[in-house]
């Protein structure tokens, strides 16, 4: 009898907590097109697998009337569950409770689940929906953020960390997502900025809406802070689950191997890339033509589109694809695309995901803005990331591979394991036009017909050097292959590299050109 009563009491207590900030607040949350914290968690996790902890945690702030305020679960929901049957740790800020504001106990709940995730070597998913620091708790809120950032950093490269921005995430709070591996945003719901429109207006006199300043589209297209754009929370949740299907649960194990499915037969790999190196095409078609089931999960699709990155599978094993995109800015390397590729390469290397690189680029983007924006330092990140990566690296040169761009894109010289080139490849210090103009300047300017002479010299250079055979004759290219042999050779290259073992000299850590 007594037990029954106690169980009933527990149920009542739980029911109360499950309501979060109460029915009115939930109605408001829904009116914004947002789910509640617990609904979001359950939409991501396998059905019935969520176990919540610290439901009854309370704050102990006393100032500014906080001693009279009861904040259910202190505005954040934490727990563990599974995704595709694999355990994950998860937290979700509850906007219905004091605007999801972060106080000391709120942060302690988050750091508790972060510690769990790191200790158990399982992925961490954080759902951010918070007005920011709980001002009433003063410096304790700041301490809370700091403890979270520290753990994000220490866990980086050990367990996957995923941030989901489903509401405001402003001020210092933005640095937790920024320190994690992947940031998901939803149109019209996600808002991220360091200083909001109000402050910008009072201090600088510039007027801008929240959406234009730090909405989902801005962070996917312009700032590059976010990796995945969705139109609804539901779409976002399915993207998260798809991402998790590709990545391993920590840096000691490999990603789950699935059944090896052939690419869609409708892709004709010989018909994708035009022979003329100045004509554009969509390099993602090449990726789909070789990937298992023609399935390619693109990352940062809207940012620096001249570089394509994402996951796919080859023979059932996850690989990271990196490819120049000729249909966008001719596929050049520039500040943003270098940054995008380098970070992804380091992610793959940290989590033992082999890298497959498709090369077709004319070089670096010329321009004052690029030079002044530090294209030297940013471009160096690609060299650094590829050189440092010890995962299997297989490179396929499709067409142009000129100059510094050739070196940077996973060349033999940066220790690619296999470098293949299509017969359409042009591996040279620069394109025939540029090279001929420099090498034969005298002949051209002193000729009776300079244009005619230029054309002749360009053709001469093209015949001699705009091909894969010069590089192949030095062993920089392992094999010149037919496009139709690409998948077979990629599979073989990865199979051979399965137990690749490379030891780098001992160091505390390198100093990448951040």
């Amino acid at each position: 009898m007594a037990l029954e009563k106690k169980i009933r009491e527990l149920k009542e207590k739980r029911e109360k907590m499950l309501l979060g900030g109460g029915e009115d607040a939930i109605v408001k949350q829904k009116a914004m097109g947002k789910n509640t914290a617990r609904e979001r968690i359950m939409s991501i996790l396998d059905p019935g697998t969520f176990n919540e902890y610290d439901m009854f945690v309370e704050h102990d702030a006393r100032d500014f009337g906080m001693d009279k305020k009861n904040l259910p679960s202190d505005g954040v929901v934490i727990g563990t569950g599974t995704v595709h049957g694999n355990p994950v740790a998860i937290f979700a800020q509850d906007f219905t409770v004091a605007g999801g504001s972060l106080g000391l106990m709120h942060s302690r709940k988050i750091t508790k689940i972060m510690d769990h995730a790191l200790k158990m070597r399982i992925p961490l998913i954080g759902i951010n929906d918070s007005g920011g620091a709980r001002i009433q708790e003063g410096v304790n809120s700041l301490a809370g953020y700091g403890e979270i950032f520290f753990r994000n950093t220490i866990s980086s490269g050990v367990i996957p960390q995923i941030s989901v921005i489903l509401g405001p995430c402003a001020g210092g709070a933005v640095y937790s997502p920024a320190l994690t591996d992947f940031v998901f945003v939803v149109d019209n719901i996600s808002k991220m900025f360091i200083t909001g429109p109000e402050v910008i207006k009072t201090v600088l006199g510039e007027e801008i809406s929240m959406e234009a300043l730090g909405g989902a589209r801005v962070h996917c297209e312009t700032s590059g802070n976010a990796h995945f754009f969705a139109s609804s929370e539901e779409e976002c949740f399915s993207q998260i689950k798809r991402l998790i299907s590709f990545i391993p649960k920590n840096n000691q194990v490999r990603a789950t191997v699935t059944e090896a499915l052939p690419p869609d037969a409708s892709y004709d790999i010989e018909k994708i890339v035009p022979g003329d190196p100045t004509l554009p095409y969509d390099v993602r078609e090449v990726i789909r033509a070789v990937a298992d089931n023609s399935d390619f999960f693109e990352i940062q699709e809207m940012y620096a589109r001249n570089m394509v990155i994402g996951f796919g599978r080859l023979g059932g094993r996850t690989v990271g694809f990196v490819a120049n995109q000729p249909m966008e800015m001719a596929g050049v390397l520039d500040v943003d695309s270098s940054d995008k590729a380098a970070r992804f390469i380091r992610y793959c290397d940290a989590f033992s995901i082999p890298l497959v690189t498709f090369v077709d680029l004319p070089g670096y983007l010329p321009g004052v803005d690029q030079e002044h924006a530090g294209v030297i330092r940013h471009g160096a990140k690609v060299l650094y990331a590829y050189s440092e990566a010890t995962v299997p690296k297989v490179t396929v040169i499709l067409r142009k591979a000129y100059g510094g761009g050739y070196i940077a894109m996973s060349s033999r010289h940066l220790r690619a394991d296999f470098v293949f080139a299509w017969p359409t490849a042009e591996i040279a210090v620069m394109g025939p036009e540029g090279a001929a103009n420099i090498i034969f300047r005298k002949e051209i300017t002193s000729a009776a017909n300079p244009d005619e002479m230029r054309r002749q010299k360009v053709d001469e250079y093209r015949d001699k050097f705009a091909n894969p055979y010069v590089a192949a004759s030095r062993g920089y290219v392992d094999a010149v292959i037919e496009p139709s042999e690409t998948r077979r050779l990629l599979l073989h290259g990865l199979e051979v590299s399965e137990n690749k073992d490379v030891q780098l000299p001992w160091k505390k850590h390198g100093i990448p050109p951040f």
Binding site: E206, N306, P362, E433, G434
Partner: protein, 104 residues
Amino acid sequence: MDKRETGKLIIDHTSYSTTFSRRFASRKPYEPPVPGRIQSFIPGTIVEVLVKVGDTVREGDVIVILEAMKMKNRLISHLDGRVVAVNTAPGNRVTKGAVLVEIA
């Protein structure tokens, strides 16, 4: 959503057909700095203008005091010369790069 400019990108004398990124399409041509221009290096509010048209100034003279982020910044002349234009007044809010005073 995705209507972006297409065109030719020239790299090392070769012309490539491609789509331009928005950032590239909207880039501003480089302008070398003009030493006689006193410009706001940060958005803010003008506190004081210490010169008027016709004044003679020397290199290092304080021309304008610009308040931004709670700091009062002294904008100084980089050359000896004469003030030919004053485009602002105390209390004005200015954007980054606004030409406040011109010295020739």
